[in-house]
Every structure is written in structure tokens, then in C-alpha cells.
Amino acid sequence: MRHVISALVQNVPGVLAHISGMLASRGFNINSLAVGPTENDDLSRMTFVVVGDNQVLEQVSKQLEKIVTVVRVIDISTQEYVERDLMLIGVQAETGEKRSEIRELVEIFRGKIVDVGAEQVMIEISGREGKVQAFVDRMRPFGIIELVRTGKIAMVRHGRTNGNTDTESDDG
């Protein structure tokens, strides 16, 4: 099972190394790890996607909480939440029919072409992991040159709680 864990950590040198070292040395299977600043300069937010059963998840959370610089750990996936993954992808796109086809797909997926070259384009796309993955699959036949993703970030939802954990129409 996949869980999304969010950890608020002190913004001090070495905290990422400490956490990733702990996860590696205890053999936890981490699918993605995203780190970035928060509204508070002293704190950073880490979002993990952990694969494992409930016992594994319990240990990951407890071991994270034991790290002195970890302020708070939440299993986001037990609540209603919004998740996003940001991707930049370079795709082969000769001018002409192929390029139009790509533009059309980018529009359908609410992405953006952010760089245009002679033979290729760079596309920015964000959304739920599944959507980003679907877009990657659509681009594959054109020839993917390069791809980079942030890994999943997530936040608990406090507005609508209609059972739907997410709606793509929220996309900007």
C-alpha cells in the first residue's frame, strides 16, 4: 500500500541527510521524497510516498518522529487531501503534424509548452501522479528526450469533503 507522509522539519543543515539515511538504513521503501520551504522560515516540509503495510507505515512514522529535528509527522493519506506532482518533460517534436498533435495533448492535460526548439519542445505539467503518468505515456511514442519530476507534494483538504479526494479542475 502507498501512503503519503508529510513531515515538518527544522530547517537546519543535515536534516535531509539524517532522514534519508535513517530510511535507507532501516530498509524502508520510499517511492518519492519532495522537500521545500514552508510559510515559516525555520521549518521545511518533506513529503514522502512510502510503500508498505500498516506496520511498516507505523515504524516509518515513529522512526521519523524520533529524529530530534523532525517537528511533526502526519499520514496525509488517512485524510482527504490534494496531491500534486510537477513535471518538466522534453519531447521530440518536429514542426508539422507531430507538433500540433503534441500541442493538442498538452492542452487536454492542461499543461504548458515552456520552451520550443527546432526539433523538440519542453512541457510543464502538474497534477495528480496518475495524470502526470498518463501524460508521460501519451508522450512516449513521440520520443521522450528528458524528464524531471518533483515527486509528490500533498496537503490536507479543509474545504469540500464530499468524499472526492481531489478534482483536476482545481488545476491552475
Partner: protein, 589 residues
Amino acid sequence: MATTDSATTNQMISGADILVQALVRNGIETIFAYPGGASMPLHQALLRNKEDLRTILPRHEQGGGFAAQGYARSTGGVGVCMATSGPGATNLVTAIADAKLDSIPLIAISGQVGTPVIGTDAFQETPIVEVCRGITKHHYLLTDVNDIARVVKEAIHIATTGRPGPVLIDVPKDVQLDSCVPDWDVEFSLPGYRAGVATEPADEQINQVAAAIKHAKRPVIYAGGGIIAAEASEQLRELVHKTGIPITMTLMGLGSFPNAEQLSMDMLGMHGAVYANHAVRDCDLLIALGVRFDDRVTGKVSAFAKDAKIVHIDIDPSELNKNKPAHIPIVSDLKLALNKLLPLVEYKDDIDGWREQCQQDKAANPYKYDEGFDGILQQHAIRELSNLTQEMETFITVGVGQHQMWSAQFYQFTRPRSWHSSSGLGTMGFGLPAAMGVQAAHPNALVVDIDGDGSFQMNIQELAACYCEKLPVKVLLLNNQHLGMVVQWEDRFMHGNRAHTYLGPIDDAEAAGKGSGPFAVERYPDFVQIAKGYGCGAASVSKKTDLVDALREMISYDGPFVLDVEVPYQEHVLPMIPSGATVDDMITE
């Protein structure tokens, strides 16, 4: 404790002085420190503060680390060691890892190259914080002199609260030399550390435990190092006496309950007592207090206490459900939990049959050895030492191996913090330096390192520190010329092939496993001469009839003493549950 007047005079002082004075202000009285280029300013500051803080010079940084552990383990306070950068710091690593696994409050301070050259592969530079991340409870790399007072305070707080553990403070040389006006009243900056306040159990949880005890037909208490760390031995004893529930202890838990009492089922686990392991196998309620279901205790974990309801109380939430799921898992300080539980329990007069079964098993399967052996067996030497020292304030430390297990089996412990063993990490060479630290904390007590010839040689240089620092540690050296525990495994599981387990010259017959007779043909090295070379008293004994007198001579010697005891190398530690096996696979012959 004397304090300096700098706080009132707003005087600028050096980082090194701030660090040392911060130690003093936080109650540290002894430090084990070995100097080097990057820690010289710190040593100058130690010298300036020698009235308040005793500096003991070990002869190897690892010895200093274990001495600090011995100090911490025997007092319940924090132990402090210091080394220079690079090799000095890496020599501390084993002692730090050891403190992590046994939950010992240790402050390790390392000098570091100056901040301008950090990361340039400077002389004697190692990224010691990186090295130690996974083996410390917390770690600091100081980069600003203004942080020192706070960091020392925080480090001691973290090391000693919650589940104790080691904290590393790495101090670059330029930060030691920089100066500022220290703010001794600075607040902690620990938004993520919640263990500072002792966790209390919910009434509901304790009621559940009391109910489980009330309904149990075959209850057993399984007590570990957490009892000792929580200073809860008194409460534990009261629980056993009040309820009449038999108790077994882990290697770390020895001393929490007196072995001599009837309800003591002694140690459990791989080399635990037959009756302890039987009791845990047969129990219907296992009350696990301050333990972690270590593989050396459980063997095959799924078969451990298979039919029992499990109560597990520990201060560290991550220990609950880690190795073995508990039916009643409780995160709590053990002293608080037991104090809450005690008024709710009463004497269990409905388990007379169970107590009787335990007693019969205990009588039928005691720890035993060949008492008619013509020579000194390791077990016999330990039992005699135990008999001679029961009435004295005695502390025992050990190395790792057969002698360690036999000490755990045959020495009769009565007090918590009187037994010191590298239990989790199993570090050979622990015994002598740990004894040195215990002696520094208890100058008038008898401190005996029961050691093996393998372990002893891993930190034998500390005889010099014992002699020069006037620490009259005694070493009971059970010398079988072999790495006995590995030999035992070779005998049991590897057709007796000797693979580098003989400690004498390679052309001796024993090196190839072709020795004849129970004793090695040669005695190498000459430990008596070595000990005398260091200025210690020393004697050798091989006749059983001479043993007690030799022990008396050792005990009464004024100064450090090594008693080299000739023992056979084919003796095995029994009983034994092979690794990963169950109690029913126990080897007793």
C-alpha cells in the same frame, strides 16, 4: 558546584571556555579526554577549569568513550568524552554506536578543523557528524560561538531524557578560539523534541494491565534495561513482591531484581536459564517492561511467548510493535507506569501451581558446570568472585564473549547499575575502560572487569590510565588463549574448524585445532609481565585450590591488579538456543 562570575560581568570568553563551563554548569564533574591538534583549545580550557571538572586521560579515544559510558551506566548521569578531529573522532565511533544500542546517555565532543577549511580534506578532517548520524540520538556541528552554551545544554537534555542515548558535538577549532559573552540562561531550540517531559500512561491503559494480571494464570515479567534507565528497580521489586509473579531479566536488565530471590527466574534468551526460557514459552501473560524483544532474547520471534497475551511498556514508541506485536502497548516512563499500576494489583494466590512449576523447573535445571573439574573453570572463578564480593559495594564490567555470558549467569546481582555489559553492540574491549569509568565515579567501590584474553587485549592500554589516574580497577582475566565464543560456534556449527580463533603463535597445534588436553600448550602473551610493565599488580593462577586466595589478593590490592586465570578452552556456554531457533531447540549438553 562552583561557577564562574563571567555571567555577571558580561565578560567575553573563548568558545572553548564556554563549552567547558557549560559542562560544569550542567553538573558534569568528570570528562575522559584525549587531546590533539583540533582540540587543544578545549584542553587548555579544561586545564583552567580543573577545580570543577576532572579530566582523565585515557590511552585511546575508544577507551575514553567506554570509560564515559562506565561513568554514565554506573551513576545514571551523563558520561562525557572528548577527542580531536579525524582519527580521534573516528576512534570514538564504536563507543558512540555502543551507547546508542544500549541507550546510554553519552556526550561525545570532537574537535574539528576550522570552518574555513571544512570540506577541503584538510589534515585530520573527517565529516564526523555525517559518520555518526545513524548512531547518535542527535548531533551538532557548531559553526557559531554564540550557539555553544545552548547546544551543550540541549545535548545533555537530549542525552538524558526520554530514551537516553549518545549526542555528538563537533566543534571546529576556530569556533573554540572565537569568543563572545555567553548567555547561560538561553532557551532550548528544540521544537521537534517531545521526550523532555516524561510520558505518563493513560489510566485506562494501566487498568487494562491490572485486569490482564488479575485474569492471568501463568504470568511472567520480562524486565530489561529500560527499568534501570528509568530508575524503576524499586517499583519493579515491589510489583514482583506484591503480586508474586515470577520475573526474568534481559542481559541489560540484570541487577533490577536480585538473582538470589526465589521469584527471580534469572536471565532469559540465547544463553539464559532453562527455566526462564521455559517460563516465557509457557506463560499466558508476558509483562514486558523496558525491553525490545531483541533477537538474542526471542530467538525465532514468531515462536516467542507464542500463546501469551503481551503487555509492552516502553518509553520509546518505536519499540512497540517493532519486533513483536503487543496486545497492550503502552508508551510511558516505566517508573510512572509502575507507580500507577502498583495500587491496582494484589497478591495472586491463584497462581500457586504456576509458581510451583517455575520453582521446580529452576531446581531441576540450574546453571551448572563440572564442579569436579581438575583446574579452574570460568564459571567456578566467577561464582567464587561472586561469593567473596556479595557484602561489598561491587561493580562488575565485562568484555564480550563466553566470559560475559558466564558472568551474567553466575554472578549474583543485587543492585541496579552494578553490572555493565556492552549488550546490544557486543563490543569486545568494553570491560577495562568501562571499569575505569565506573571506578572514577565510585572511588571507594570494588570494580572488577571480568574479561577474556581476546577482549582484554582490545583496550589493554587502559591499564596505563588506571595506574596513572589512580583508578584501582581489578581485572579477573579468564584466559583460555582463544576467542572462546567463536570457538564454541565452530565446535557446534562448523565441525570444530579453527578459523583464526587461537590467540597464540600460528605454529602452535591449537592454531590448527589440533591441541590436546583442555588447556592451550602455551600461555601467550605474558599478561602478568604486561600488567607489571604498566605498574599494576598482577598474578597468575591455575590451581583450583589457589583460586580463592588469589581472588582475595586481587580484591585487597591497593591499586589496579590483573589476575590471570588459566582456564580451559573447550568449555561451552550452556544452555544455548541457536540463533533464530526456539526454546525447544535449546542445547543443554
